[in-house]
Symmetry: C2
Subunit: 541 residues, 2 copies
């Protein structure tokens, strides 16, 4: 059969882009609430008009196809609109981590070549400092959010005035090719300079729909924004919400009381969150739940929820789905599809199953756990540790201006995640550690995650992080940093004794430090800082 | 920002294809039931192995990339497997209408250049006759289904023996490019020769996922096969079911009793069907529902369900979703998303709303109702009639060997559907007629659908079809063919009187014929045949 004559034409080939989700939501559900932020409630029609205004204003300000527009802001309507308005101008959105210091911010603005910076008044000190060090400052637009006091307006005009310079009737620019960049996301750069990860329209479209499917969201979900939109573009949920014509409930900062109040008032159905938020929720008073009668779907990732966390969070009315991904994979790349037959299991067993993921999300094409050197898949025995490798259309285009790092990340035709895991016989995957977090003691590999999960079973332990500490005899040994629950009474010796009861002796931490854990902007424990501290600590045992 | 250096590589670009859905279902849910057919129950692991065997057997039989493999069969496991096994061999599946006569079949086999024909014993008479007229007969493989008596085995071997010549361990062939053809579907050809409509992997992937989203199917649906898999590849549901790791309940022929028995025994959750099946269901005795406690989701299309049908079918435990599409659009291209606020409306009002669709499915990029000559969109006033135009990645590649017809179908960068409709202010669309079914009387357009929907409101009317009849005074006038319900007592004059009460006088049929309506294989009324008859009928009024 010869059909070579039939190439793509405008009727049967349209570059995939999540921007059309917004146009559809506005056309079909113009009056449904799209965005809620305090007293602000905007419909899909209104949000579309504002995004078109933004695209038009950017174009009139000289932004051209492929230019970078940076936004540094809390989870407010402005950064939501930027996820559409910036690419609708043909430009690339760089949503910047709000915890970056001035030097890192300056580096990112220069490296990403931002022509415009839309920024939150609350962050003006850092931003002002960064701008002074730039040879060529971008045009600055201020988000002047009434919810936050203080700070300064730094820019040429505020966001609303800038919108007013645009015309919502101006045509906007769909991508000419779905491979065109849509966003640029800088890693938090715990070691070395942040890397600029490029997403394209094709991947953003596919991952946005994939979120709907893996989480079985249905039409019109109400989504509470605790994951920062600067973090993997909020796991692509800005676009997912438009695809489902749902409601975005904005949130500047995560406070447990406000979270429950919004769940109650806005009837939030879905919320995704970093482990730090899950941890905060798990300690919440049941009184906060008063008046909330519906269950809330909660998607979490990055570290496996413990049985205790799952139990307490489920008692508060949340149903947990566990995902896994990294900035290079547009957010959630794999997850733990729940099986009805697991419902009846005891909580510890359910938590054990839920702590796994590794089932490709609908948009991910392939995953393997394999030997990092040979790329030979490990046996699916739940025991052999290998590195997680991903492949598919929701994997980054590359690291901006770092072709060597890009080639390294893609060596052998797979994305190297740097995460170590075991592959179970049923195809699910369980993360053991980041490759750089593994502790090598007397030639044996110790998973810091395994030791942490034992520590977290101790009733007095709120959080724990385990890193390698130099050991004159064994090379390295585990060192535990432990945050204790309010009012709990426990000392270092008891922690060690508890670990002895639950771990092989060579895995027991030889140092224990009590106190709060240092965290990154996205709530990840900063192991690099802990490793630094561990180097100077005495061995306890 | 310059990212031009980052082209696609195997880690971040994989051609979209629905074939990977099968591999995933088998990897993650190997033991879940994939296919049920009478006493046959096969898991996803088993189904994947059989499809790989089929792909291997085809390759060993000399089938090469781009070759056509035809299947002419009832909805059995074999045609389901062919939807994967044939493209896994790099070949193109041509699923053939089982109602085609020998001459049409011979034409299709020759036009499509089928190298292999997999055929159902039940159809052996037609197939044998067609084969004798072919200069170069394909290799014939018989489906020897124990559920059906009679017929002859015509081929080189039966399907199971053919499978045994393949090795499930042989590697299979994913598409090198997502634009490659996956299937070939011949129109029923009510006028002229059937046209061969080409689908590609990209469209099949997107439409399969789109089905999940538009119908909110969730994980593991149980789907009853009443839509023939030869009809737009069963609206792409063979691939949808793999994507959701659901269960396919096969069905050779639609009989209402068996349908309810399967719903009860297999706990069917979803079923899509042509209007003729919906009509049959609406007349079913409530006793058939005994023992069925769950609601069944029903997706229908092609003609708008009447209030009476909706009411009676909902009483039987079905929830109707109304879609619209054509073979050129891979099945459902638009639908009627239901709004919670409509739930409380009276049934007639709900039916009026449900009779509309026109909201693009998640995979369709754009739709318009426009002037067929100028392509100028009509006003969204619910009154102005225009033609429906579609655009997106789930629109056919083209008509095989008919570049002129393809160019015509895509003129102006839109697929011309030939369906006439009005566009409502809320963005929904209501079909008025096929362009060729419109009746022009005294210069006024009369929608045959409008007259039919009035006729269907008469309690004695089971079905009605209205066509143009030559009229010496007005040019054309409407002629009604009416199938009456069992036991109903009504005559032609009463039908006319009823129409007079509910229609403008110029729209009232001038001839009425009582009796069953001629139907095509897919349950569509054959208006061409009725027009032929109408030419010789006397005018009643």
């Amino acid at each position: 059969m010869d059909d070579a004559t039939f190439g793509p034409n405008p009727a049967n080939h349209v570059p995939l882009t999540p921007l059309t989700f917004l146009a559809h939501a506005a056309a079909v559900f113009p009056d449904r609430t799209a965005v809620v932020h305090g007293a602000i409630r905007r419909s899909w029609a209104e949000t579309y008009r504002r995004c078109r205004r933004l695209a038009s204003a950017l174009a009139r300000a000289g932004v051209r196809r492929g230019d970078t527009v940076a936004v540094m802001a809390a989870n407010t309507p402005e950064i939501y609109e930027a996820h559409f308005g910036v690419p609708m101008a043909g430009a690339v959105l760089n949503a910047i981590n709000t915890r970056f210091d001035a030097a890192t911010l300056a580096y990112v603005l220069e490296h990403g070549e931002a022509r415009i910076l839309i920024t939150d008044r609350e962050l003006s000190r850092t931003v002002a400092q960064a701008l002074t060090s730039l040879p060529r400052a971008p045009l600055v637009i201020d988000i002047d959010d009434g919810q936050v006091p203080g700070g300064e307006l730094l820019g040429a005009m505020d966001y609303e005035a800038f919108l007013a310079t645009g015309d919502p009737a101006d045509p906007w620019t769909p991508p000419a090719d779905e491979w065109e960049a849509i966003t640029l996301n800088y890693t938090s750069g715990t070691t070395g300079r942040p890397k600029g990860i490029i997403y394209h329209h094709r991947g953003a479209y596919l991952n946005a729909l994939s979120n709907l499917l893996l989480w079985n969201m249905g039409p019109h979900p109400t989504y509470l924004w605790t994951v920062p939109m600067f973090h993997c573009n909020g796991w692509c949920f800005p676009w997912t919400l438009a695809a489902a014509a749902g409601t975005n409930v904005c949130l500047r900062a995560v406070r447990v009381e406000q979270l429950f109040a919004l769940i109650r008032e806005e009837k939030v159905t879905h919320l995704s969150c970093a482990p730090v938020v899950l941890q905060a929720l798990s300690g919440a008073s049941p009184a906060l739940r008063e008046g909330i009668t519906h269950r809330v779907q909660l998607l979490t990732g990055a570290s496996a929820p413990t049985p205790g966390t799952i139990e307490s969070v489920e008692r508060l009315g949340f149903e947990i789905t566990h995902g896994y991904g990294l900035t290079e994979s547009y957010g959630a790349a794999t997850y733990c599809p729940w099986r009805p037959e697991w419902d009846a299991l005891p909580v510890a067993e359910r938590a054990r199953l839920k702590a796994r993921q590794g089932v490709p999300s609908p948009a991910l094409e392939a995953l393997m756990v394999a030997d990092p050197a040979t790329l030979a898949p490990v046996p699916r025995d739940g025991l052999t540790v290998g590195e997680i490798f991903l492949r598919g259309n929701t994997i980054m285009k590359g690291y901006l201006k770092s072709p060597a790092a890009t080639d390294e990340a893609f060596a052998g035709g797979w994305l190297h995640t740097g995460d170590l895991a075991v592959w179970h016989p049923d195809g699910y995957v369980e993360i053991r550690d980041r490759s750089k977090d593994i502790i090598i003691s007397g030639g044996e590999n110790i998973s810091s995650l395994e030791v942490e999960s034992v520590l977290q079973r101790h009733p007095a332990v709120l959080e724990a992080a385990v890193v390698a500490q130099p050991d004159p005899k064994w090379g390295e040994s585990p060192c535990a940093f432990v945050a204790v629950r309010d009012g709990a009474d426990v000392d270092e010796r008891e922690i060690v004794a508890f670990c002895r009861r639950h771990l092989a002796h060579y895995k027991v931490p030889k140092s224990v430090v009590l106190g709060p854990l240092p965290k990154s902007a996205t709530g990840k424990v900063q192991k690099e800082a802990l490793r630094e501290r561990a180097r100077s600590l005495p061995l306890l045992i």
